[in-house]
């Protein structure tokens, strides 16, 4: 039985977003790497745009992820003005973040490759 840290069993829906969360950090890093400094709303839009209909994103979790990445020193944040002239916090990837992104991307590709192979194995059986 899959349980979260609070010991409650997870419904199918939340499990989906939880799975996402593990990789959300990676996606945000990649987004910032590709598009340059963005605010939280922008990041959420970009991920939505790329993954529409596949992932359901609780956009709030983006901010948890952002805080975590900040604590690791992989991204930096500063206040600026958004396109419609409102005050917004802009996040940008740091040099260390770039390195981490490379590392994680490589890892991810390897894992997903293995998982894909494993899944094919099961189908053949």
């Amino acid at each position: 039985m899959v349980k979260d840290r609070k010991g409650t069993e997870l419904s199918a829906d939340t499990r989906k977003s939880e799975v996402l969360q593990g990789t959300l950090d990676l996606m945000i890093l990649k987004t910032l790497h590709a598009l340059g400094p963005l605010h939280g709303f922008g990041i959420a839009r970009r991920i939505e745009q790329v993954s529409r209909d596949v992932l359901q994103l609780n956009e709030g979790t983006v901010y948890t992820s952002l805080l975590r990445l900040q604590q690791q020193g992989w991204i930096a944040a500063e206040w600026g003005t958004s396109e419609n002239n409102r005050k917004a916090k802009f996040y940008s990837i740091t040099e260390r973040g770039q390195k981490q992104l490379e590392l994680e991307t490589e890892n991810w590709e390897r894992i997903s490759g293995v998982i894909a192979r494993v899944l094919r194995l099961q189908e053949e059986k």
Partner: protein, 891 residues
């Protein structure tokens, strides 16, 4: 995500900042969320929703802001109480699921912690804070040490003059008191009893800073001339002699002929000078030659804060040098003033032993920790899937470490609770087995607050030690490790394996050394118990009669007391015989230079001797080897006859008939009541009787009639036909019926006394060693088991392949057992080596058995091997039942 080492430090720093900032709301973050929601609402409005619909949709898309805040807080804090609670509940649940593991771990830790707690309790109560007195650590006493004497020690008694000089002339004490012995006789009913009295100087009770339990302590006014005579009593005396009767207070007792009022009873732990009663006395400079000029006071000073022992030594040396010029007869030609701390004399003897034992116990605790660490590693291996899944689901590594830490903490605390329980029981046994006078009478060995604090710290420390290994391992592993590494056997790492093997070898070695030590002590103790004392201790009651010196000076006076007393005693129902002697058996009495008529020799001949009545030989049932013991008539006439022991005859009259030979006991000619021309005729030879303890060879001894000297014979022995413990009251009546002014002391059965004097020390050593050896054996069992369980769990895959390739269950069993046995054999070899080295140190404590006793070595080694074999067999059998299909499917 993979986190490089530096980054976990950085996030820790961020958390620390968050922790220091506290849990306030983050306005910037709220603004950010607000903006985001506004933008979402605008977007939905643009899609044609109503404002209400747009707001709901925006909130749905954004998710729960409260849980977001919580997540954020958790990221920013070190410890959230809530999360901790969840972790603990989770830990309890998982541990409950693997009850066997939890039980073994808790029992192991409990054993280790209990041993540490018990011994620390002894150390704390006996050595760190044995005294309940105020500033006891600064209390010291001076000792005049003769530097020409090689052995330790020196004079500790000072004349009143010396005490007054010390008190007035010193610059290092902020308080100084003294006490002197004063045997106190008092009328009790129809007879007389004795108190160990102490006369104490003004300010004594203020010095110790302890108020009375009932009534009051001595005050300055009690010391004034003409003040009503009063005294204070020790708690123990009050309870044992007066059943704790509170109506005793303010009653008047006639002490040494003076009516005195009991004004106070001290609290239980006040035991200054070991006295029963405390009488006020102002010491004054005695007239030279006066009776009290030779009265000695024990001096105790309290160092001023900051004053060192060396300063005190220098200061008192100046005073002592001055005194030595005035009273040269009291000082050796060359001396130093030694400053000793209160309790040093008692505690000093056991300090080394205690610290050694504490170190051994620490080692046991470490072993317990490494055992539990191994068990946890073994469990972590089988939980790898669970952890990978958690990591995959986004649980941070810190989270997993926290889960494991919570489990460790729960185990450690449960272990601590069990440990305290065990220690509580163990301490009772320990204190009961402890020989008398090994600890200061003030100290009470108990589980007090400092000890419990110590236990708590130890438990937390153990959790850290044994919880670290699996936690670190989970740090090394990451999300894709389990996927990437197909060979499970590799993930533990070879470095870890080497460490674990080394720990097991060390455990086995230590455990065997303990077992051998315990075995040797046990054999030695059995031998000790079988030593023939040469006398029958059963059915003998003994007591010491304190004959008042003024009325009992001459042999005649003593005889006039003992003759009717013996008659009275023999008339009592249940009494077989009675006798008097001058030394408490099995001690052989005083020493004397001896000459044998017709023998010349260069070296000085010595013999022990004691005064006895003719009944002595019958009461103790000693065996006569030649001649006869003296008769009642000879004793009554104070004839100079003697009986000697076998050793005397063999040593001083070899190959001759000793009967009728004459010997001179020189000491008698210089005694308090000198015997002129102390030549005695030997009438008989006795079989040897232990006279210098069990471990020293028997010395020559002579027995002479008690009627020869004054009131030397003060020990009364009574042989009974019933339990000698019940005879005390009739004996007391008989003594008081003869002379109501004679008190009885040290009453009891001879068996108990000999047991206390001869066997209590060695028995305590045996008890301690056996306890530690048992703990060691249990720990080594768990240790061997846990390491094998871990390595087999890791090798499940390999074992599966072996079995798939045709290995039978028995082959696997043999393989695993072989792994274990290799470690055990290595440990055994080291253990035997260690104990052979240690044996030399133990040699002095052993009687009738050598440190290399092959029977003990073989028995203990066998015991250890068998226990270890069982520990190997359980995981081996489990491994041999591995289903190859299941084992391989794990991939």
């Amino acid at each position: 995500m993979n986190q490089p080492r530096g980054s976990s430090l950085r996030s820790f720093a961020a958390k620390l900042r968050g922790f220091l900032r506290g849990h306030q709301n983050d306005p910037e973050f709220e603004e950010e969320i607000h903006e985001h929601l506004q933008l979402l609402v605008q977007r939905f409005l643009a899609q044609g929703m109503s404002r209400e619909e747009a707001r709901t949709a925006a909130r749905r898309q954004f998710g729960n802001t409260t849980s977001l805040q919580e997540d954020r807080r958790e990221l920013q804090t070190l410890l959230s109480i809530e999360a901790l609670w969840h972790d603990l509940r989770y830990a309890l649940r998982t541990l409950w699921k693997s009850r066997g593991f939890a039980a073994v771990s808790i029992a192991t830790l409990g054993l280790g912690i209990s041993a540490a707690t018990a011994i620390f309790s002894v150390v704390e109560n006996v050595m760190l804070s044995p005294f309940p007195y105020k500033d006891a650590r600064r209390m010291v006493f001076p000792r005049i040490h003769n530097t020409q004497q090689s052995q330790d020690g020196g004079r500790q008694g000072y004349t009143a003059t010396e005490f007054l000089e010390f008190a007035a002339g010193n610059h290092v004490f902020d308080g100084i008191v003294a006490a002197t012995d004063d045997p106190v006789l008092y009328k009790q009913g129809e007879g007389t009893e004795e108190f160990d009295g102490a006369r104490v100087t003004p300010g004594t009770f203020e010095f110790f800073g302890m108020p009375a339990l009932y009534g009051r302590v001595l005050q300055p006014s009690d010391y004034e001339p003409g003040a009503p005579p009063v005294f204070v009593m020790r708690h123990k005396t009050w309870v044992e002699r007066f059943n704790g009767d509170s109506s005793m207070l303010n009653k008047t007792f006639v002490l040494n002929g003076i009516p005195r009022t009991l004004i106070g009873i001290m609290p239980p732990r006040f035991a200054w000078y070991g006295a029963d009663v405390f009488l006020p006395e102002k010491p004054r400079v005695a007239e030279p030659g006066a009776a009290d000029a030779r009265e000695y006071w024990f001096v105790l000073g309290r160092l001023k804060p900051g004053a060192s022992i060396q300063q005190a030594q220098a200061d008192l040396t100046v005073i002592a040098n001055r005194l030595a010029r005035v009273h040269p007869q009291d000082y050796p030609p060359r001396f130093t003033v030694e400053i000793r701390k209160l309790g040093d004399t008692v505690v000093g003897r056991i300090a080394a032993t205690l610290y050694t034992v504490l170190a051994a116990v620490g080692l046991l605790l470490l072993i317990a920790c490494s055992n539990v660490a191994n068990l946890m590693l073994a469990r972590a291996t089988s939980r790898e899937k669970e952890f990978s899944l958690r990591a995959l689901l986004g649980a941070g590594r810190a989270r997993i470490v926290r889960l494991l830490t919570a489990e460790s903490l729960v185990l450690a605390m449960a272990g601590a609770m069990l440990g305290v329980l065990l220690a509580w029981g163990g301490l009772k046994a320990l204190v009961a087995a402890m020989p008398q006078d090994t600890i200061p009478s003030e100290s009470v060995i108990e589980l007090n607050a400092p000890v419990l604090m110590f236990t708590l710290c130890v438990a937390a420390l153990t959790a850290l030690i044994f919880g670290l290994a699996p936690a670190l391992q989970s740090f090394r592993r990451d999300l894709n490790d389990t996927v990437r590494e197909s060979g499970k056997g590799m993930s533990g790492g070879f470095r870890g394996k080497w460490m674990r093997d080394a720990v097991v070898v060390m455990e086995v070695a230590l455990s065997l050394a303990l077992l051998i030590g315990a075995g040797l002590l046990m054999r030695s103790f059995v031998t000790l118990r079988q030593v023939r004392l040469g006398l029958r201790t059963d059915h003998v009651f003994q007591t010491v009669l304190l004959l008042p010196e003024d009325r009992y000076k001459t042999a005649e006076q003593a005889t006039q007391f003992f003759r009717p007393l013996f008659a009275r005693l023999k008339a009592l129902p249940g009494v077989v015989d009675a006798a008097a002697c001058s030394a408490l058996p099995p001690s052989g009495g005083a020493e004397s230079r001896v000459e044998v008529a017709g023998k010349t020799h260069d070296e000085e001949w010595q013999t022990l001797f004691q005064y006895v009545s003719e009944g002595y030989f019958r009461v103790l049932r000693v065996e006569l080897q030649a001649g006869r013991v003296f008769t009642e008539a000879e004793v009554n006439d104070a004839r100079k006859v003697a009986v000697v022991n076998e050793t005397f005859a063999r040593k001083y009259l070899p190959n001759e008939n000793p009967i009728g030979r004459r010997v001179r006991l020189a000491r008698l000619e210089t005694a308090a009541e000198p015997v002129r021309d102390a030549w005695f005729e030997i009438t008989g030879v006795l079989a040897d009787v232990t006279n210098r303890g069990l471990q020293t060879p028997i010395e020559p001894e002579a027995w002479v009639p008690y009627t020869i000297a004054g009131s030397e014979a003060q020990v009364l022995l009574v042989r009974t036909s019933q339990d000698p413990g019940t005879i005390i009251n009739p004996v007391r009546q008989a003594v008081w019926g003869t002379d109501s002014g004679v008190p009885l002391g040290y009453s009891g059965t001879l068996e108990e006394r000999i047991g206390e004097g001869l066997y209590a020390g060695p028995r305590f050593g045996v008890v301690l060693m056996v306890i530690f050896a048992c703990v060691g054996l249990v720990l080594v069992t768990v240790g061997v088991y846990s390491v094998l369980a871990y390595s087999t769990a890791q090798r499940t895959h390999e074992i599966g392949i072996r079995m798939a390739l045709g290995a039978a269950g028995d082959d696997v069993l043999r393989m695993v057992v072989k792994t274990g046995v290799r470690l055990v054999v290595a440990g055994t070899a080291i253990g035997i080596g260690v104990s052979l080295v240690l044996g030399r140190l133990m040699g002095t404590q052993l009687v009738g058995v050598t440190a290399y006793d092959p029977a003990t070595l073989a028995t203990t080694t066998l015991l250890l091997m068998m226990t270890a074999a069982v520990a190997c067999w359980i995981p081996a059998r489990r491994a041999s039942r591995v289903d190859p299909m299941v084992a391989l499917r794990y991939e």
